[in-house]
Symmetry: C2
Subunit: 191 residues, 2 copies
DNA sequence: CTATACATGTAACAAGTTACATGATTAA
DNA sequence: TTAATCATGTAACTTGTTACATGTATAG
């Protein structure tokens, strides 16, 4: 869908906003918090990206304002048109399954460091991922995941984050061990 | 008062180019292929991003042209200044360990679909990841990973990709099974 | 000859980040 | 009263994608 002069726009953020507002009416501020916690490991976004997108969604008629609160708080909900567009996106466009992760890129170039230092960096990665995993486990444990289909679906998605951070931590630890075993030495590699 | 922009530029592409050219002299065309194969699962990049960046690197003195070939081919290598800057990046800047992956985002919103369709999408994901894994396994099998520290380091990085695609495939399969077991049904969730 | 791969570049746009900017409400 | 949090927005810039644009060498 959404081809403008042949260019395919992804607009993941746009659909994510509609999706969150389809679940429950919320303000831009609330949405920002959602992107900082549950969605942080799938599609992080800042408020500076969210507010202008909400304006565009209002314009499209995919969301509407349903209330207001103190301090200029504006509460929105998804319209039927918005939910319909979200479903269209989910069913009629191909997901982008690209992986792009800076720590893996860095790993490619650690042969330029002293092996000791390279190994240490892999261990730092491992610890950082373990910390992220612990954070996510806290989040997973603190929420009520059985209350609605949306929450249970969120739990399925969050599971990916848990598994990914566990994997990355183990990978980095494994790489550190390989480097310590001499993998990056100039001389012959170990058996 | 020094508000001299505390803007942290990441410039991963810049350092990746220097890193590849530190290993072996290459042209922009060769680099583009590297980003399309071995680096595709860590930091994909198109030629339209690579050529302008090479010009900037020349300007910085981090690379230099060492030869030319037919059809205007230009071969570059990293300078000592470039390698030094790469090492500085690796040792003195914090990696961005963010995960951003569209299929996980989509998973959050599949509660808006019929459970059957949601399960089918998870199975499609699983198959797509398995295909990516098979591709990467081919690549891993086709290269000589023992010839240099750089190659052996590349193998460590590539291992992350192998493990990630395996994990994502298994996760999607698991999610499909959960959905088929009734996780997204309106009624009570299964035990 | 002619299609494919090689080879380099630019332009227009989309997406994302950091900083700037402002102000209201609430709790200590 | 003052710091933290709530709350919304814009500006400037960086990064990444798709399309445009051009031309050469080689293999069938």
């Amino acid at each position: 869908m959404s081809r403008v002069t042949g260019k395919i726009k992804r607009m993941s953020l746009r659909y994510a906003l509609v999706g969150l507002l389809a679940e429950e009416p919320m303000s831009g501020y609330d949405l920002t918090k959602r992107f900082a916690v549950s969605l942080a490991n799938a599609w992080p976004a800042q408020h500076s990206q969210i507010y202008p997108e909400l304006a565009r969604l209002l314009d499209l008629g995919w969301i509407r304002q349903t209330g207001q609160g103190p301090r200029g708080r504006k509460v929105y909900e998804a319209t039927p048109e918005g939910v319909s567009a979200l479903r269209e996106w989910l069913t009629s466009t191909e997901p982008d399954r690209t992986l792009r992760h800076e720590p893996i890129l860095r790993a490619f170039f650690r042969w330029t460091l002293e092996p000791d230092q390279a190994a240490q960096q892999f261990r730092t990665d491992a610890r950082a991922y373990a910390a992220k995993l612990a954070e996510l486990e806290d989040l997973a444990g603190s929420l009520d995941w059985e209350s609605s289909p949306a929450d249970r679906c969120g739990r399925l998605a969050l599971e990916a984050g848990l598994r990914l951070y566990r994997l990355l931590s183990e990978w980095a630890e494994w790489a550190a061990e390989r480097v310590e075993a001499g993998t990056l030495d100039d001389s012959d590699p170990p058996a």
